[in-house]
């Protein structure tokens, strides 16, 4: 088809996901009718995925600075100073729709994409994380999706040789038709070797490296911005296949080139491939660009300009070289057996000019297109929060029964079945493997380390988006603290339904407000992120899921703490719980798993308290006072203690938890940790807490093979282990 000659119809505009008013704006900017290539470019640049048109207004309110932030949102990934001249570079990104359509390749290419976002900035990727949400375990598709997604993440990450060190998994029927696959990469770079994407230098070569371009994933970016419906089958050809081997070569080749002085700027080709990468580079640098599409390495014959500009073939990068560096760069990419082609030059025209077969097939103004990219202030309504659930109104079930039940429930059961499929040790720096509160990865060649955690409790966000947003941030902060880390910054991945519906838009607005509030209070800014909207199937939205990925630093890896009970006779201390708190059961797993209730206001997060308690705990660790530490989240105190006992294969003897017993044991109050300390240190720790106004209370002592309460009732660790470890393998074997 001759794309230039074709006249644009209303139908074309619609299939490109553009509204009438957006098309009117296009006509105004172009001063004429666009051709199909140009329309395609507008459509991807103005898609929700690339333009953030529904969320931009609210994202701007997030705190993004701190003395240690080197680069906040806006680049391929965020950058923080972690001391010693080093920087941590990280980001999280979703691959939800592709993973639902083809779980293995969808998840795999999600990992590939986030890796490129990070190494394009000069960082060697050192850790991957994955935050996953699946439908109900009973849904006929769930098992297949879990299996495909997990093997896809492993298949890609294991092959490129970056350890996948942690993540999170939830199951809920709201994800039955729309799973969430959020992948995060953390990289390490020298602060003086960070690469950005703004193009500069008229006449500089625009270079294409990596794999050849095929017809993969055309319209992927617009698909990521569209709701699923009955016709989603038709969108299938947009699935891309990942090639982790080529990615590994691309990482090595880019690292080698980055060590020279050849690169002016660099950017990966992510969603909307060549279009968004070239456009963004030129736009950021205030440059023009001229591309000769005949030079683009092509995998298939007779590719059109439209296809080349919109292809989402994987494992490709765009580089602006400094003058005269072409030969040096070419040699490196040839050594790594990758494609290398000079496909264009930078100009001063401020326009993007595309040539194909000697003809101009597209000519667009860059600045006006970028600046006119739509920004909506969509109508929104606040979620009405349920009344607080009183413990007295909730049935008190025998704690032993409740604990057994919770330890083996899908949201708490051990994720070992997953993480054993991920190489979490390659690169020989994984100091804390999956299974603890945060992953800890040593900073190579030093005694320092990064602590990384991803968290979100979607049921809280649904019940109260503001508190839920706060909670997601606070939980990562707490998890990093629990291993001894100083939390520094976060990346977020905001997964929501259709923003044109006011209640959904309300969730977005309020969750962002909550996230922002928590970031401010905890000095824990947002440095990168991603928004994924329209996560709905046939009009039914997912639980609002703003996944947060937090990164912190441990200045001395020898002070790292783990959840495992260590020695019999250690004293168990609960910190952060006020004595008069009866325990928060609203939105708890106790309520949901044992009483099938998903109601009530979620536990509120007192950020000043959060910070005071966390700083106290971290301080104790620096003093070498703590033998084990675990923050309390899903399932509350009883589940937290059971997890510590399982990890250490050591029981504990507990004092009377007080009444009401069920809410004290299973309430999900925030800002709490369980610690163990040597018996001789217990008084010092309690006194120190008193001085700092941190509630702290002795719970009991470690020892034995059971968890025993003062009244003599007990549960065997061995039994809990079977339930906790058993659920996933049994479920996945299809026998449950």
């Amino acid at each position: 088809m001759n794309h230039q000659a074709k006249k644009i119809t209303a139908e074309d505009v619609k299939t490109h996901g553009l509204s009438e008013s957006e098309y009117a704006k296009i006509l105004e900017i172009m001063g004429r009718e666009p051709n199909l290539v140009e329309l395609g470019i507008f459509s991807v640049m103005w898609s929700e995925h690339c333009s953030y048109k529904s969320s931009k207004k609210w994202l701007k309110t997030l705190p993004t600075t701190a003395p240690w932030v080197i680069c906040g949102p806006g680049e391929n990934a965020g950058v923080i100073d972690i001391g010693d001249g080093l920087a941590a570079i990280f980001k999280m990104e979703s691959h939800n729709h592709p993973s639902f359509i083809e779980p293995y390749q969808g998840a795999a290419t999600g990992v590939g994409g986030i890796l490129r976002d990070v190494f394009t900035m000069g960082a060697r990727p050192i850790a991957n994380m994955n935050a996953l949400r699946f439908g109900s375990p009973d849904h006929p598709k769930t098992r297949h999706l879990v299996s495909g997604v997990v093997s896809g993440i492993g298949g890609y990450g294991n092959c490129v040789g970056v350890p996948t060190v942690g993540g999170e998994v939830n199951f809920h029927p709201s994800y039955n038709g729309n799973i969430l696959v959020n992948a995060m990469t953390v990289g390490l770079a020298d602060q003086d070797k960070i690469f950005y994407s703004a193009a500069a230098g008229a006449g500089n070569s625009v270079v294409y490296v990596g794999s050849k371009t095929g017809r993969d994933g055309i319209h992927g970016a617009t698909m990521a911005s569209a709701e699923f419906g009955a016709d989603s089958e038709e969108k299938r050809p947009t699935v891309q296949v990942g090639d982790p081997f080529t990615e590994k070569l691309l990482i090595e080749a880019c690292m080698e080139l980055m060590a020279t002085d050849a690169i002016q700027s660099i950017q990966d080709m992510g969603a909307a491939g060549l279009t968004s990468s070239s456009f963004e580079m030129a736009s950021k640098g205030g440059m023009g660009v001229e591309i000769d599409l005949d030079k683009v390495p092509q995998r298939e014959e007779n590719m059109t300009a439209y296809e080349m500009m919109l292809s989402e073939s994987q494992e490709r990068m765009l580089i602006i070289l400094k003058p005269g560096k072409e030969d040096l760069a070419r040699k490196i990419f040839e050594k790594w057996e990758l494609d290398f082609a000079v496909i264009g030059t930078l100009t001063t025209t401020g326009r993007m000019v595309l040539k194909h077969h000697g003809e101009v097939v597209g000519d667009l103004p860059i600045d006006p297109l970028a600046q006119a990219s739509p920004e909506y202030d969509r109508p929104w309504v606040k979620t009405e929060v349920d009344p607080v659930v009183k413990a007295g109104d909730v049935k008190d079930i025998d704690w032993r029964h409740a604990l057994r039940n919770l330890m083996g429930c899908p949201d708490i059961a051990s994720r070992r079945w997953i993480w054993e499929q991920y190489d979490h040790m390659v690169m020989a720096d994984t100091a804390q493997r999956p299974g603890g509160d945060a992953a800890v990865v040593r900073i190579h060649d030093t005694d320092r380390a990064l602590a990384i955690s991803t968290d979100c409790t979607p049921r809280y966000v649904k019940a109260d988006p503001f508190e839920g947003g706060k909670q997601a941030v606070a939980e990562t902060w707490r998890n990093i603290t629990a291993v001894g880390g100083r939390p520094l910054a976060i990346t977020d991945n905001l997964n929501f339904g259709n923003p044109t519906k006011p209640p959904i838009m309300g969730q977005i607005v309020e969750a962002i407000r909550g996230i922002g509030e928590a970031c401010k209070a905890l000095d824990y800014p947002v440095i990168s992120g991603n928004v994924s909207l329209y996560n709905e199937t046939d009009g039914k939205p997912i639980l609002p899921t703003p996944a947060i990925g937090g990164v912190g630093v441990l200045d001395d890896i020898d002070r790292m703490t783990t959840v495992a009970f260590k020695n019999a006779g250690d004293v168990v201390i609960l910190v952060g719980q006020a004595d008069d708190a009866e325990g928060w059961l609203g939105q708890s797993l106790y309520l949901r798993e044992l009483l099938s209730r998903e109601d009530g206001a979620p536990p509120p997060v007192d950020l000043a308290h959060e910070r005071r308690v966390g700083d106290f705990v971290r301080g104790l660790m620096h003093m070498g006072m703590i033998t084990a530490c675990h923050d309390l989240s899903d399932g509350g105190l009883a589940v937290g203690l059971a997890e510590m006992a399982l990890a250490g294969n050591l029981g504990c003897l507990l004092q009377d938890p007080g009444t009401p017993r069920h809410s004290r044991l299973f309430g999900e109050d925030q800002g709490r940790y369980v610690l163990t300390v040597k018996a001789a240190d217990a008084d010092t720790v309690l006194a120190e807490a008193g001085t700092l106004n941190v509630p702290a209370k002795m719970l009991g002592v470690t020892g034995g093979r059971d968890i025993v309460l003062a009244d003599g009732t007990s549960v065997e660790i061995a039994e809990l282990r079977q339930l906790h470890e058993g659920w996933f393998p049994t479920y996945m074997s299809g026998k449950s």
């Binding site: 092959c159 040789g161 090639d243 054993e420 979490h424 040790m425 390659v426 020989a428 890896i557």
Partner: protein
């Protein structure tokens, strides 16, 4: 001792093994790029883990046919010690330096976890740092480590004492439950008949540092250095 590490496109444990070797040797090994046709004169050649050529087709197959492997085979003939770990084991097996093949794990999944190994033979330089029947803890990380061969070859391997390590319980019992991948006779690592070549699926280089949770792997490198210096 002098050592070299072969680097293929897709190798990803090359740095890890180099660090472990350096820790024991006191100096770094030579890193040899797969397209080099010359090997430095060394006492030990390590073929590292990873996904050489993506492990497409069959694990290790394409690397086994690369030019550098001709040199490695020549060195092996002259008695240079060769250590293949994980993908390296697959590569040297495909190259014909060891018997058998490494097939898909019995439950088809990639497995990354610590396993226990019983040291079956401590007389080689590779195992000189261990005692016979000692149980060590070392991680595995592979999807294709299921050792297989025909009955006659298996008999020969066993009769000649060519098994270096077997998957075992922490107490040292060789049981089906302790076998993570379906390998025949729980074989985790084997020698050639002269004990100059060792291939093993587990990664000793990953537990050679207390910060990473164990040091049982380090004894292999210390033992090599002592035996080959």
């Amino acid at each position: 001792m002098k050592a070299a590490v072969i680097v293929f496109p897709g190798s990803n444990c090359d740095r890890d093994i180099a660090i472990a070797l350096e820790q024991s040797m006191g100096k770094p090994p030579a890193m040899v790029w797969h397209r080099d046709s010359e090997l430095p004169k060394v006492d030990l050649i390590a073929v590292p883990g990873g996904f050489s050529y993506g492990d497409y087709l069959r694990c290790g197959a394409m690397a086994a046919h690369s030019p550098i492997m001709r040199e490695v085979k020549r060195a092996a003939e002259k008695g240079t010690r060769i250590l293949g770990i994980c993908n390296g084991f697959q590569v040297i097996t495909e190259a014909g330096l060891l018997d058998g093949v490494l097939m898909r794990n019995k439950d088809l999944r990639f497995i990354c976890k610590d396993v226990h190994l019983r040291v079956e033979d401590a007389k080689s330089p590779f195992t000189a740092g261990y005692k016979k029947d000692e149980v060590i803890r070392v991680p595995i990380a592979h999807a294709e480590g299921n050792f297989f061969t025909d009955e006659d070859t298996l008999k020969r391997i066993e009769d000649k004492g060519m098994v270096a390590f077997r998957y075992a319980t922490p107490e040292g019992d060789v049981t089906q439950d302790a076998n993570p991948n379906g390998s025949l006779n729980n074989i985790a690592g084997i020698f050639n008949d002269k004990r100059t070549v060792l291939g093993m699926m587990p990664h000793p280089e990953r537990l050679s540092d207390p910060t990473l949770g164990g040091t049982d792997g380090r004894k292999m490198f210390d033992g090599l250095v002592e035996a080959l210096s």
